[in-house]
Symmetry: C2
């Protein structure tokens, strides 16, 4: 299993995080003249942009994941470690991983972002977010349980609360979730129930800013809003959530305060950098922004440490546009490829100019047949945009068989208007949403180090 | 949504359990002149024979499941309820479902079987079984975590325990699990690790009786044993497990007692009827056998109640062979179709002769390319048997798109020798096997009624 190289690599590159940023750095360095150690707390790379499709019953988690070992099994210079990095020692050039210590010559920190509840962490229990596979399975459980429990509910007010869905956050995740749930209620599940009429479901999308999808062209935001409304979604912009407790969402638009009873409140607003951002700040003095993202240099290193890179959602790169690059997959991908190239050039005594992001555009799916695509010079809506969206997402899935399975799932769902993967699973799979249970096993908690047994 | 029938049905059929037995009863009655209520504590039908493929990373849960509502959405006389039946009132002809009461004219109880630990229920914590989707995901987590933790383990004895897998039970489930894990260790994961050599893994299959696969022809058992051994599995027959505690399995063959350290002990031995069997016994006086299965009449009713049927794994039907029919899918399917037909004939004043099971044969997969098939007049082994096994399982999957996805997964795995769906997921996804944790959230516990929120 040992590959003989002309010159045994001695430069140790440690990459923390196997998302887009870390993955594409590792890919760029596979078979280069370095030793790569890729550390992730999961054994798979997750294609987050399609998580909402797991949450709404179209895809399975494995359809949007790639086992990291499998991706790098042929790269003999690449080692994959399952674990969580708890600390970094920049002077000794080591990362701490449980009771292991992993030395590095070059370190890449790409551990991404988590959800932010704007300081109201108690809302997390009532309004789950969508960052991990477990999040998606829990969201799926709540969405489908809501219809099941509505079917058996005799009290009309409670039934209405089961059939009311509130999505907080009008970026791509919130928009795509809202559209998918609307399709579920008004199309897919229409014939499946006998006591309830799922078309009575109400789906609200709450957005703090002026328009949904704020990062794309205004005319496309407007097109997306129209499409969503045609699907049946009720959109409230310039709306701030002021409280989420038990089954009540309170929100404010101007002076108008509204309370809505909803058993299924989903959080798609607000991000904050992962914990390693704070760790880096403490250990190196680098600054973070108010969202906990690490402020990086033009070549993605951190100030004072040319051998420590931060990229992806954890990085705040503002050198190009005066404001941070968005936390989207293409940014992380390009940054990973840049850093991978830079490391190799450095070993040969060269360097690269500063990182430049080639903005290929933005896209969001509204529902089957509808999407908006902003490529700058071209803007697409409707069916053509939707096809484009599908093709791009397939392109970004990194394993061929996954691409094939996903294409088939999508084709099938399109033809049958069915969603096959709508299992309610989990520990207490049929208990329905449990917002008041403080011992809710499904609360997304901070992950812990592996316990040695 | 209301379909006008010539004569509005007034006969209420309640089916408890959406496995093979309940599902095929409901299918036989779909659009018949009865009202059908199908109750299951899950919102999907699970194709249990392929669960081991979820546990070993080949398939996703949705690939082997069908949403019950989806299956019956076109059958306007069929209602699906998500819930758990806690009690039956045979005099008043009602089932109790949480705080609901569901009246019936005819009742079918088809809630299947659970694992039996032969009285040693404390073993359940250390040796999980394979009955539900959650079981499969937990088993998958333990299997793949074992390799991950071995990769990082410095103590050679502990590493050996991580690379030792013990499967208890030599029926089809145990045999298929053992073969799949052997393929994982010796083929699929061979190139994926750097510190360990997965071909050093040891896989033990322990069987109490004389031969593995005791229900098929002896020559096929022998062929299966040879094939498994070629794959690398160590088989111990006439072996009884005497203790499982923490990471040690103690077993006895004759006078010889052995202790093995293993972090991954999997239970595939012993079944017992589900709780509703005992409930029926208490409420109706019907007898159960020592495994908790309900002893049924030749027409699958219970003694004294011609409108209560029990079928599938929960039933002990010994009228044909003098011993109970095995708890396999084709038995439950045929029983369901029989009962569905009988109910309709009764409404017209007719009846049917006693139930007769047409034994189509038995089959088990040993690994890719290898299976054994016993059709009575034909016995197959090797590649041909394997193809037959694939075709039969595809046939039994009840939704077309699932068939297509599974075929693709299998084709892909065959060509690439890869297993794509090997995610480690769950609450503490990377903690590895935790046999000593009494608060292990993954303990398979008795399921509870939905809590009204």
């Amino acid at each position: 299993m040992v590959v003989a190289l002309d010159k045994k690599p001695s430069h140790e590159v440690v990459i923390v995080g196997g998302g887009f940023g870390g993955l594409y750095t590792a890919k760029a360095l596979a078979n280069a003249n370095v030793n790569v150690t890729l550390i992730d707390k999961r054994n798979f790379h997750l294609f987050q942009p399609l998580l909402y499709q797991v949450a709404t019953g179209t895809l399975s988690p494995a359809d949007i994941s790639a086992p990291l070992r499998s991706v790098f099994s042929k790269s003999k210079n690449t080692k994959v470690l399952l674990g969580e990095v708890s600390d970094i020692d920049p002077k000794a050039q080591k990362v701490i991983l449980g009771d292991q210590v992993v030395p590095y010559d070059t370190l890449i920190v790409a551990t991404g972002a988590n959800h932010s509840y704007f300081g109201k962490d108690n809302w997390k229990e009532f309004a789950p977010g969508l960052k991990t596979v477990e999040d998606a399975i829990e969201m799926r459980r709540r969405i489908f349980s809501a219809f099941e429990l509505a079917e058996q509910e005799t009290d009309p007010e409670t039934r209405r609360a089961f059939l009311t869905f509130v999505i907080v956050g009008g970026g791509p995740t919130g928009v795509e979730l809202a559209g998918a749930i609307a399709e579920l209620a008004y199309q897919t599940l229409k014939e499946d129930f006998r006591n309830i009429d799922t078309s009575e479901a109400k789906i609200l999308l709450l957005q703090g800013g002026d328009r949904i999808l704020p990062h794309i062209a205004p005319e496309l935001s407007a097109a997306a809003e129209t499409s969503l409304q045609k699907l049946g979604v009720i959109i409230n912009t310039q709306t701030r959530v002021t409280n989420i407790e038990n089954d009540i969402v309170t929100f404010k638009k101007g002076d108008e305060v509204t309370e809505i009873a909803s058993k299924t409140i989903l959080w798609a607003a607000g991000v904050q950098g992962s914990t390693l951002g704070k760790v880096l700040a403490e250990r190196t003095g680098v600054e973070c922004d108010f969202s906990g993202r690490v402020i990086v240099e033009p070549n993605l290193t951190i100030k004072g440490y040319k051998n420590i890179f931060v990229l992806g959602d954890l990085a705040n790169f503002s050198h190009q546009n005066g404001k941070p690059l968005p936390g989207v997959a293409p940014v992380a991908k390009q940054q990973g490829e840049y850093v991978g190239g830079l490391i190799q050039l450095r070993l040969q005594g060269h360097t690269l100019p500063e990182f430049h992001y080639t903005d290929v555009g933005s896209l969001a799916m509204i529902g089957q047949n509808l999407a908006v695509v902003d490529l700058g010079f071209i803007k697409l809506t409707g069916f053509l945009a939707w096809v484009f969206w599908l093709v791009i997402h397939i392109y970004f899935l990194i394993e061929f068989d996954t691409k094939l399975v996903v294409v088939i799932q999508w084709a099938w769902n399109y033809i049958t208007r069915n969603r096959r993967s709508r299992l309610i699973t989990g520990k207490e799979a049929f208990l329905g949403p449990q917002p008041v249970n403080k011992n809710n096993p499904y609360q997304a908690t901070e992950t812990k180090l592996p316990v040695k047994v």
